[in-house]
């Protein structure tokens, strides 16, 4: 509201004319209105920040994670998450973060090795430490990591989110896993979008029998329960496929089923817009079909499409996670949140090492953020509604 600050109770002002300031009649573009509306959706704004953070983590996975996700350490299996403390071995405040040492114990009954915190030991966390080599963005060879333990730790690894059954760092694995889990949603949604816009657009713009055929196809795909179909199609991917090929296979399978709802929306919008006056006048002034679609119709519903795109990403992330969890999606040694959760299939293991469920927390966080963001976008897409 541009005019909200104009006092309505200024009845006693001598000159009423003073009250009509220029700002009251200023014009806001739709984009501006959307931004104002979106900004008011506090949770959506927080979600954007969370998502940017998560994608940055994924992008800089090699740098942020202290270890290679596949580095294993046979003497540190199932280490619980380490608490970060500012107190050193003598209990003095040090002013810098660090972790306490570990004492290994073997349970006399189960013979399982457990770890106790050794509060007498304290190792400071170093930043920008040299560690295992990796390729940043897949190009630059480097070995500098954001954080890690120094020489004084005597080889004790820093597992601040714990380690798995092979002694691999959960934090590094979750970070690397986010590369797959977060990108598969985007890639798949864009594939769906391409399919949805092309087919939905054709359907809605031309109508007639083309529309009929495409609508029947959409109805058919939607009449099949998606999860069993996803499972069946993923299971049909040849097992000898490379990691990358499998990734794209799964992405394509998810989009082939996912495009239908987008396609429907695009079609609905096209149908509604087709009869709008501005489309008619464009047509009367001799604009080509393509020009009408691209210059006149698409811009008028992009905001809605962006909102529904955002809202369909969570479904894809959940689907990938579920498929991989079942062993039908991505497979070891590929790393995704779903693959990591496979480690948590056995309830007894979970009971002893609940931190194995942490990748699930990452899933929940990402899905929540996308949902809130999508909600905010959807509200903002209608800047004139209340």
């Amino acid at each position: 509201m541009t005019t909200a600050n104009t006092p309505a109770n200024a009845h006693n002002l001598p000159d009423p004319m003073e009250e009509i300031d220029e700002g009251a009649i200023s014009i806001a573009s739709p984009r501006q209105l959307m931004w104002w509306k979106f900004r008011k959706h506090r949770i959506a704004v927080i979600s954007v920040i969370v998502l940017i953070g998560m994608y940055l983590l994924a992008l800089f996975a090699g740098f942020v994670s202290p270890y290679d996700p596949n580095t294993f350490n046979a003497s540190y299996k199932y280490v619980p998450p380490m608490a970060i403390t500012f107190l050193d071995g003598e209990g003095n405040f040090t002013g810098r973060p660090g972790v306490n040492g570990l004492i290994q114990e073997r349970d006399p009954e189960t013979l399982r090795i457990t770890y106790q915190t050794d509060y007498t030991q304290w190792y400071p966390i170093h930043f920008f430490v040299e560690g295992e080599p990796y390729k940043l963005f897949g190009f630059f060879n480097t070995n500098v990591h954001l954080f890690g333990l120094g020489e004084e730790a005597n080889g004790m690894p820093f597992f601040w989110l714990g380690s798995d059954r092979l002694g691999r760092d959960m934090f590094s694995r979750i970070t690397y896993g986010s590369q797959v889990s977060l990108s598969i949603g985007l890639v798949s949604v864009f594939l769906s979008l391409a399919l949805g816009i092309v087919l939905g657009g054709i359907s809605g713009y031309y109508g007639g029998w083309v529309d009929n055929v495409i609508q029947r196809v959409i109805e058919f795909i939607r009449s099949i329960p998606s999860l069993p179909l996803w499972m069946a199609l993923s299971a049909a991917l040849p097992p000898e496929l490379s990691q990358e090929a499998r990734y794209f296979g799964i992405t394509i399978i998810l989009s082939v089923i996912g495009w239908t709802s987008l396609g429907r929306q695009v079609r609905g919008r096209f149908l509604a817009l087709r009869t709008e006056d501005f489309v008619l006048s464009a047509r009367l002034s001799g604009a080509s079909d393509w020009r009408i679609i691209v210059r006149h119709m698409v811009p008028s519903f992009t905001s809605h499409i962006i909102a529904s795109l955002t809202l369909s990403i969570p479904g894809i992330i959940l689907a990938e996670t579920s498929l991989s969890f079942l062993g039908l999606g991505l497979r070891q040694p590929a790393i995704s949140w779903g693959v990591l959760l496979q480690e948590a299939q056995n309830i007894r293991t979970v009971a002893l090492s609940p931190w194995l469920l942490l990748p699930g927390l990452a899933v929940v966080l990402a899905v929540l953020a996308f949902n809130f963001l999508g909600d905010g976008l959807r509200d903002a897409a209608d800047p004139f509604s209340r």
């Binding site: 109805e219 099949i224 329960p225 499972m231 199609l233 996670t321 299939q345 979970v350 469920l357």
Partner: protein, 327 residues
């Protein structure tokens, strides 16, 4: 009305036909035909089959014939209740699936009841008390419910039950009832196990339903006909439940038919985690071991169930909503 139903039934039949083709394609998808994998699996167990036997089986199953003949043979069997043989289990597929499908229906049905009885009142309350504390809480829980993968929820619930009570809460029966014949005690035992899958399967649905119900209600609640009813002197409570709720429920009536099959779909993963004797675990095993007749049959059955559910919903909606009946 009659015309409407006939048209719907025709569409459903065509869809089912298309689904049968798709299921058959799924069966055919893995490289090689199933006999090669059968022979391979026998060989891996140390058995060998003579070339003649393989040839005989090949003819018997019609594998040497064109693909459409194979389809016709398969679908002909399916219509008579013969879904082919499960390679892994060595028994007819039909023997494996019906019991488990019944269990799946049981879990699905209880989840539907759970979802509806929880979501509708909460949705109505949220809409009529917009921006109240309960509205905020239910909205947040709704988002959370949508964000937590089913199997995660199952794992967490099991983990809590396991560490709190030291009890494995998986399965639908206690061990002593596992193979026992049906009895009243077994039924009670079933009910005592049913609630965890019911909650787990229903959570995402509840969350979604609350949000839709709330949105539908908000669309209806300021409609002039509600205003008219209020102006007539109807009490707020009666007004809400007679008019806007009734209208807002219509979209749900259109989902009642396929709510069940879709919950069965969602139940698949939960069943794997919770180790339920339902359709989910054998579908997964079938797919992992490329036991394609089994997997194809399950996909076919679930899809047909969905189509029938949709058909049922459409007819129900037409009966309940005079606007659609006119069409």
């Amino acid at each position: 009305m009659f015309q409407f139903i006939v048209r719907r039934i025709l569409i459903a039949l065509v869809t089912i036909f298309a689904i049968s083709i798709m299921s058959f394609v799924i069966i055919q998808l893995p490289p090689g035909d199933f006999l090669t994998s059968y022979v391979a699996s026998l060989a891996s167990q140390g058995d060998s089959v003579s070339e003649q036997v393989v040839q005989a089986m090949r003819e018997n199953y019609g594998l040497d014939q064109p693909i459409y003949v194979q389809y016709l043979k398969w679908i002909g069997g399916v219509v008579q209740g013969d879904f082919g043989r499960s390679l892994e289990w060595g028994v007819p597929v039909a023997d494996l699936i019906w019991d488990r499908l019944a269990m799946s229906l049981m879990v699905g049905l209880s989840s539907v009841l759970f979802v509806w009885s929880l979501a509708i009142p909460i949705g109505v309350y949220s809409a009529t008390n917009q921006y109240s504390l309960i509205d905020y809480i239910s909205t947040f829980l709704g988002f959370l419910g949508l964000a937590i993968p089913n199997f995660m929820l199952a794992l967490v619930l099991m983990w809590i039950a396991f560490s709190a009570f030291g009890q494995d809460v998986g399965g639908l029966f206690s061990p002593e009832f596992q193979d026992a014949p049906w009895s009243f005690e077994k039924f009670i035992n079933l009910l005592s196990h049913l609630w965890i899958p019911m909650i787990v399967v229903g959570t995402a649905g509840t969350a979604g339903l609350i949000r839709t119900m709330r949105a539908n209600m908000l669309d209806e609640i300021n409609q002039p006909y509600v205003e008219t009813a209020r102006a007539k002197g109807l009490s707020e409570r009666r007004n809400i439940w007679k008019y806007p709720v009734r209208v807002a429920l219509n979209p749900f009536i259109s989902t009642v038919g396929y709510a069940l099959p879709s919950l069965i779909g969602g139940e698949i993963i939960v069943a794997v985690v919770l180790n339920l004797p339902t359709i989910g675990p054998i579908l997964l095993r079938g797919l992992l071991s490329q036991d394609m007749f089994l997997a194809g049959a399950i996909v076919l059955l679930l899809s047909v169930l969905t189509v029938l559910g949709t058909l049922l919903s459409d007819i129900l909606l037409a009966l309940l909503d005079p606007r659609i009946r006119m069409e």
